[in-house]
């Protein structure tokens, strides 16, 4: 009611002392102020969607999952900082590029599967789209605003832990040189995290936009992401069995997942193991990292490192094509969607 504070209308006194049921003729006031252009409306929709990705502006229940996943994502960085603070000589246990792939994979899979439907599926379910497209919003603006918002949401999930990791490391090293060393590793880590965010956000939104029903949309995202990951791993393990050291190989030998792996330039792992990683977005991202040349793979990361063999270029290409295809598919989806 009036006492509950409307923003007081300029130049007019709201009817005071009203007691329900009374209709006040407040008259109609034209809006004479400035109107935002298409770009500002796009930003407003992006901001609204970004908030929705973390359950802001919705009930308390909607905030549980994103908050939980965020905490899980940050946990390794916090553990790293604490471990460094108590035992400075121990050295960092987590790297910027890989972070902890298993935790990153699981947490991001859940985050994307649960939150992508909140951005796109709800408007489909409630038939809200006609209300948007009857406004100064283009057919392409809506999916792009959703995409930008969700990429930013995924970036926050991935990069904030890296920042915590960086801060934890930097506070324990001494000298400008050591800080610079950390920064040199931190930068590529952020960029690689951005690759995660762009790929997962575009695939997640495309899959979530197939259904207006929330449960179906969650399944549409989670099931393909999860099963391709399993299949990629099984195939990779099958391939790995054939990945034995060659006696007398030259070119260096490293320990890899408990096995001795030959890095002889002429020796390549079998194609099955090398290409299996293309099946799942998560192993594709792992392969992308190997192709880009991970500066120092962490022990934890190595356990799940994607084998790319001589197919590194293909990983780069598939990453770019898959991202573009997902974004293109999302735009096409909203060109076709019915209005009214």
């Amino acid at each position: 009611m009036a006492a509950k504070t409307e923003p007081a209308p300029a130049g007019q006194v709201a009817p005071a002392g009203s007691d329900g049921g009374v209709i006040h003729n407040i008259g109609y006031r034209r809006y004479e102020g400035a109107r935002l252009g298409r770009g500002s409306i796009f930003l407003a929709l992006t901001w609204h969607s970004l908030r929705a990705a973390f359950g802001l502006g919705r009930g308390a229940k909607a905030k549980i999952f994103p908050a939980l996943m965020f905490v899980i994502m940050c946990l390794p960085a916090v553990v790293n900082a604490v471990s460094l603070a108590t035992n400075p000589s121990g050295g960092a246990i987590i790297t910027y590029d890989d972070y902890v792939p298993s935790i990153r994979t699981v947490a991001m899979l859940i985050f994307v599967a649960v939150e992508a439907p909140n951005l796109v599926s709800a408007d489909l379910r409630n038939h809200t789209l006609p209300l948007y497209f009857a406004r100064p919003i283009g057919r392409i603006d809506y999916p792009l605003a959703k995409l930008v918002a969700f990429v930013i949401a995924c970036l926050l999930m991935i990069e904030v832990p890296l920042v915590i990791l960086y801060v934890g490391n930097v506070t324990q090293v001494h000298g400008a040189h050591a800080v610079w060393e950390q920064t040199l590793q931190f930068g590529p880590g952020l960029l690689y995290g951005a690759a995660w965010a762009v790929l997962l956000a575009s695939i997640g939104l495309l899959l979530a936009s197939v259904s207006g029903k929330r449960v179906f949309a969650i399944c549409a995202v989670a099931i393909p992401l999860f099963f391709t990951y399993i299949v990629a791993h099984v195939l990779e393990q099958v391939g790995r069995q054939a990945f034995r050291p060659v006696p007398g190989c030259v070119g260096g030998v490293v320990r890899h997942a408990g096995q001795v792996v030959c890095l002889h330039p002429g020796f390549h792992p079998p194609a099955l193991a090398s290409l299996a990683g293309l099946i799942s977005p998560f192993t594709l991202l792992g392969g992308l990292l190997r192709w880009l040349g991970a500066p120092n793979p962490s022990p934890a990361g190595n356990l799940q490192a994607t084998i790319i063999g001589q197919y590194g270029d293909i990983y780069g290409l598939v990453f770019v094509l898959l991202t573009l295809a997902a974004i293109g598919g999302l735009i096409l989806r909203y060109r076709k969607v019915g209005v009214a």
Binding site: G33, T128, R135, G138
Partner: protein, 350 residues
């Protein structure tokens, strides 16, 4: 009846459309290769409240989508407030508020949140969007309820929210698609009053699409009837309703004697159901019927104003239409259907 005088397409939208808020010429929309939704439709919608009448599937929603620039016509042109629908969709959608026919509201947000957000989507800065959302919701009669989630609302309240979101951007033209859909009689009356008020007091032109003529003729200044995508008739409400109304008279006994007496007094009564139907020329028709019944001393049981089917009503020549419909009436059971015959009894008049 509302006489809407306020100037419409004025102000920031540049060139005012001289005397028309919507204009189409030869507008045709063919879906695929076979389904013709609009067929050479040429209409002019004057400022004020205009009813767009047609049965389901007549092309009302297609027309509205083309006017909003959401759908391209197959051929022909359309302009809203002087802006071309094909090329200036963004400008038109800034100046227009749209209330869709179907349910379109998310259940898990409050009306205030939704309308504020949609105000921003209409191009309002956030402070203005909050203020206008509160105003719009008050205008449609939602007070403290607006802080509740929409999922808890009644059908009537949801329709009001749909109207409020169309109003929030301060449009010059409202396109309302079946605004009384799913409402009970009281809700319908309230919604119609609200629309009439927006048209008369707020100075906003309104195009109301409906398949219920009897309902929206009460609030419209002008009626446009379309059928199968073609224009049936476009005329002011007064000329449409005067020419087409008939009076149904029922007496408990002596129907034949009354028919003879009415014919003697210059009317041409036609048997209909258990009574007689005469063309309603004006108040004097009531007097003639009253005097005839009184002179014969018959027990009058019913006297009500009725309307013919929409298509008959909107024939080019209303007198021909009436003669034809009068002939067709006894044989046509469809006349009694809810959409085809509108009653305007003494009690239901506005």
């Amino acid at each position: 009846m509302i006489s809407q005088i306020m100037p419409v397409a004025r102000g920031r939208d540049g060139t005012p459309a001289p005397g028309a808020v919507v204009q189409t010429a030869g507008l045709t929309k063919v879906y695929g290769t076979t389904v013709t939704a609009l067929n050479q439709l040429t209409i002019t919608v004057p400022p004020g409240v205009t009813g767009l009448i047609g049965a389901n599937g007549a092309g009302k929603s297609t027309l509205i989508k083309i006017l909003l620039g959401l759908l391209g016509p197959t051929s022909g042109t359309a302009a809203v407030l002087g802006h071309d629908c094909a090329t200036e969709g963004f400008v038109i959608r800034t100046l227009t508020g749209y209330m869709p026919e179907h349910d379109c509201l998310p259940p898990d947000v409050t009306a205030t949140e939704l309308v504020t957000h949609l105000g921003r989507m209409s191009g309002l800065p956030s402070a203005a969007a909050r203020e206008r959302a509160a105003d719009s919701l008050r205008h449609v009669g939602l007070y403290e309820e607006r802080y509740r989630q929409i999922g808890t609302y009644s059908a009537g309240m949801k329709q009001r929210v749909k109207l409020a979101q169309a109003l929030v951007g301060d449009p010059r033209l409202l396109l309302l698609d079946e605004p009384t859909n799913g409402l009970d009689p009281a809700g319908r009356t309230a919604m119609l009053d609200l629309i009439a008020r927006i048209g008369s007091e707020f100075g906003i032109s309104i195009l109301v699409a409906s398949h219920l003529l009897g309902e929206i003729e009460q609030i419209c200044d002008h009626l446009i009837a379309i059928d199968a995508g073609q224009l049936l008739r476009s005329d002011s409400v007064s000329s449409v309703t005067k020419a087409s109304a008939v009076l149904l008279v029922e007496v408990d006994e002596g129907t034949d004697a009354l028919a003879a007496e009415l014919a003697r007094r210059g009317l041409s009564p036609v048997p209909f159901q258990r009574g007689l139907m005469v063309q309603l020329a004006g108040d004097e028709t009531y007097d003639v019927v009253r005097d005839s019944v009184a002179d014969l001393g018959l027990p009058l049981s019913r006297m009500e104003q009725r309307r013919h089917r929409i298509e008959e009503l909107f024939r080019a020549d209303p007198t021909v239409a009436d003669a034809a419909s009068a002939d067709a009436v006894p044989a046509s059971p469809a006349v009694g259907g809810p959409a085809s015959t509108q009653t305007n009894g003494v009690t239901s008049g506005s």
